[in-house]
């Protein structure tokens, strides 16, 4: 009977129901594949693949393959690098080559560019002496290690870098020197901030969602609007609003001074630091907690609480034993949503975070736009993406992607 009905319903679909359904989905799948998945794949390939040095210095790298890594490389390597650096200079790839070698070993940029500019074949002088004459760094095995390392076409160095690790010249993977370690602590900070924000949003959002869910319909829709207004308001507008409220000459400080609660010269620093990031992000993320909680709570009859009370449970008992367990799907959905959004947040920390309120996303933007170390930006992005993907799968397991609703 049901399959019969099914078949008749499918007369709407011309040539086989499955084909028809797939045909409807296909354009968007292709579009997302091209405009979203392909870009992510490009980013991931950038994080492990870098042909610039390998393409510019093929002969040198070939010779360094057999090098023992302990002694200074033999004469042919000096000749090869001299010729290839000169050629790179003519082909205008030298800058990019020098940057990459410099990233592996700081200070080598000037060595590379100066050598390419000055080196000339000299009668009666070995290539080695010529190069060392241009810069003493050519007499240091570390220089050669850096060149060999930067010449890897496929490399893990961006990921190592993103985890504050490096590969030493003997092939060991070891922590970077203290002064260069930034990313792991930033990842930790991002994790801690995201968890705190999730907790904070749950703490603030749960009671409010409860109030809305069990208010009389008229009042409920009014209260719901109070949550939806910030949800719909432009992110930049909300961030601007917090700057206006929190800055030293802003509304809150001026009010406190006017009320005589603080002295004019001791205005509170509430923005361009972690406080600013936390406050503004809680504001941004709170609706994402309240709305799923509200959606679940709305379906829980108040009768359950009354029944528990009539059976002798105190209000607290009735809440913890009867109400709270039923809201867990909403708690899970809201918390995961807030956490996923928090961990990749960029705009708000960038605008109100100052130095101390930056998160890992700001580092991606920094390497994309300022340092132009795109391989490293891609690697940090890859780590973050993997993390979010895991959370996404957890979300799917716990809540189900198909049950995702908006507002």
């Amino acid at each position: 009977m049901s399959s019969n009905r099914q078949a008749e319903a499918d007369t709407f679909f011309l040539s086989g129901p499955q084909l028809r359904a797939v045909g409807l989905v296909l354009p968007l799948v292709a579009f997302i594949g091209l405009t979203f998945i392909a870009p992510l794949a490009t980013m991931l390939s950038r994080s492990v693949y870098d042909p610039v040095v390998a393409d510019a210095l093929p002969a040198t790298l070939d010779l360094l393959q057999d090098w023992d890594g302990v002694h200074i490389p033999p004469e042919p390597a000096f000749e090869a690098i001299a010729r290839e650096l000169r050629r790179a200079r003519q082909e205008r790839t030298l800058g990019r080559v020098a940057t990459r070698i410099n990233r592996v070993h700081g200070g080598l940029r000037s060595v590379i560019t100066r050598t390419a500019r000055r080196v000339r074949e000299a009668e009666g002088l070995s290539w080695r002496d010529t190069l060392v004459g241009v810069h003493a760094a050519w007499d240091d095995v570390q220089t050669w290690h850096a060149i060999r390392h930067a010449g890897e076409r496929f490399t893990a160095r961006h990921y190592l870098h993103a985890l504050d690790l490096e590969r030493r010249s003997d092939g060991r993977i070891a922590p970077r020197p203290d002064e260069y370690r930034v990313y792991v602590s930033l990842l930790w900070r991002t994790l801690v901030v995201s968890l705190s924000l999730t907790g904070l949003c749950l703490l603030l959002g749960y009671p409010v969602a409860y109030l809305i869910a069990h208010a009389p319909p008229q009042r409920a829709s009014l209260l719901l609007l109070l949550v939806l207004v910030p949800f719909w308001t432009s992110l930049l507008v909300r961030t601007t609003a917090w700057i206006v409220l929190l800055q030293t000459q802003g509304v809150i400080n001026s009010t406190l001074v006017a009320l005589g609660l603080i002295a004019d010269e001791s205005r509170l620093a509430m923005i361009y630091n972690m406080t600013g990031t936390m406050v503004a992000m809680t504001h941004v993320l709170l609706p994402f907690m309240v709305l799923p909680l509200y959606a679940v709570m709305r379906t829980i009859p108040r009768l359950h609480m009354s029944a528990a009370a009539s059976l002798g449970a105190s209000t607290v008992q009735a809440f913890w034993r009867v109400y709270w367990p039923q809201t867990l799907p909403g708690v899970g959905a809201g918390s995961l949503l807030v956490f996923i959004l928090a961990i990749g947040y960029y705009i708000t920390p960038a605008l109100v975070g100052g130095q101390s309120g930056q998160l890992i996303s700001n580092m991606i933007a920094y390497h994309m736009q300022s340092s132009l170390n795109w391989g490293l930006a891609a690697a940090i992005g890859g780590l973050l993406l993997a993390f979010v993907l895991v959370l996404y799968l957890v979300y799917d397991r716990l809540v189900g992607i198909e049950r995702m609703r908006l507002g």
């Binding site: 392909a38 719909w232 308001t233 909300r238």
Partner: protein
């Protein structure tokens, strides 16, 4: 449930005070911006005159400032153009996909759904970085087309979700009824399906437009001077020299989002009441 004792009253009052505080936290920042945008002085606090409600303390100068600025006008045109084009693209593709997704015969539904929703879950900074790498290979950075594609991508999940939600309450017998009355598939879609899912489609389109209209990260990464949008312009304003002109723009955007929100709520109620 009448309160049973003193503690209940105290607890209930504390609870209501707490909730009120949270509501104030949610709304106050947005409300505060509005009067400040009419400040006659270039300050971000209420001047004495404003507090005494003197008409002279208020002015439209920041609004005139914004309206007269060719950069802001250019940004608005860009935002509208990119937003509308992205919305049309996202709504068309998203609606079709939602029709396919809610069809019982679709194989691998949850995997496809997961794929189609993924642009919404992925942090925008990652999407934008990837798009920058990929689109620059295709020569699409610093073009309007590149941003339209990027924004359409970010907007499609909203369309898919809202339309699929409307379709979940859809009675498949209606297809049969339409077919038995002699309507072909296209006619059935236009006359039966579309009117029923219209609220979902329009909500989805509004979501998609709002997404594009508020998006700044892909514009930062991929847009050039010619592609500056309103949020991009605000970004510069906030970073470089925050002037009350920003507050005027912010107030206009608040009015704009209120309009959007009320439309979506109205549509939702219309769809829900069916």
């Amino acid at each position: 449930m009448p309160p049973r004792g003193l503690w209940e009253i105290v607890g209930r009052t504390a609870y209501l005070v707490f909730c009120t505080a949270v509501f104030v936290f949610l709304i106050a920042p947005i409300v505060v911006i509005v009067p400040l945008s009419f400040n006659a002085e270039p300050y971000f606090t209420f001047t004495e005159g404003m507090l005494r409600l003197e008409p002279a303390a208020y002015s439209l100068r920041w609004y005139q400032n914004v309206m007269g600025d060719p950069e802001w006008r250019h940004a608005l045109l860009n935002s509208l153009f990119i937003g509308l084009a992205a919305t049309v693209l996202a709504t068309t593709l998203g609606t079709l996909a939602a029709l396919g997704l809610t069809h019982p015969a679709l194989p691998g539904r949850s995997a496809i759904m997961g794929l189609l929703i993924s642009p919404m879950i992925t942090p925008v900074i990652i999407s934008a970085a990837g798009m920058f790498f990929f689109y620059s290979n295709l020569g699409l950075t610093q073009t309007h087309l590149g941003l339209i594609l990027a924004h359409a991508t970010l907007g499609t999940p909203f369309v898919v979700i809202t339309v699929a939600a409307t379709l979940s309450g859809f009675d498949p017998n209606l297809y049969r009824a339409a077919a038995s009355l002699g309507a072909g598939p296209l006619r059935t879609f236009r006359r039966v399906v579309l009117p029923l899912i219209a609220p979902g489609v329009i909500s989805g389109a509004l979501f998609a437009f709002a997404t594009s209209f508020d998006e700044v990260v892909t514009v930062l990464f991929m847009g050039g001077l010619e592609q500056r949008t309103v949020p991009r312009q605000m970004w510069t304003g906030i970073r470089e020299q925050i002037s009350p002109a920003i507050l005027a723009v912010a107030t206009l955007l608040i009015a704009f989002s209120l309009l959007f929100m009320l439309s979506v709520e109205w549509l939702r109620r219309r769809a829900g009441g069916r």
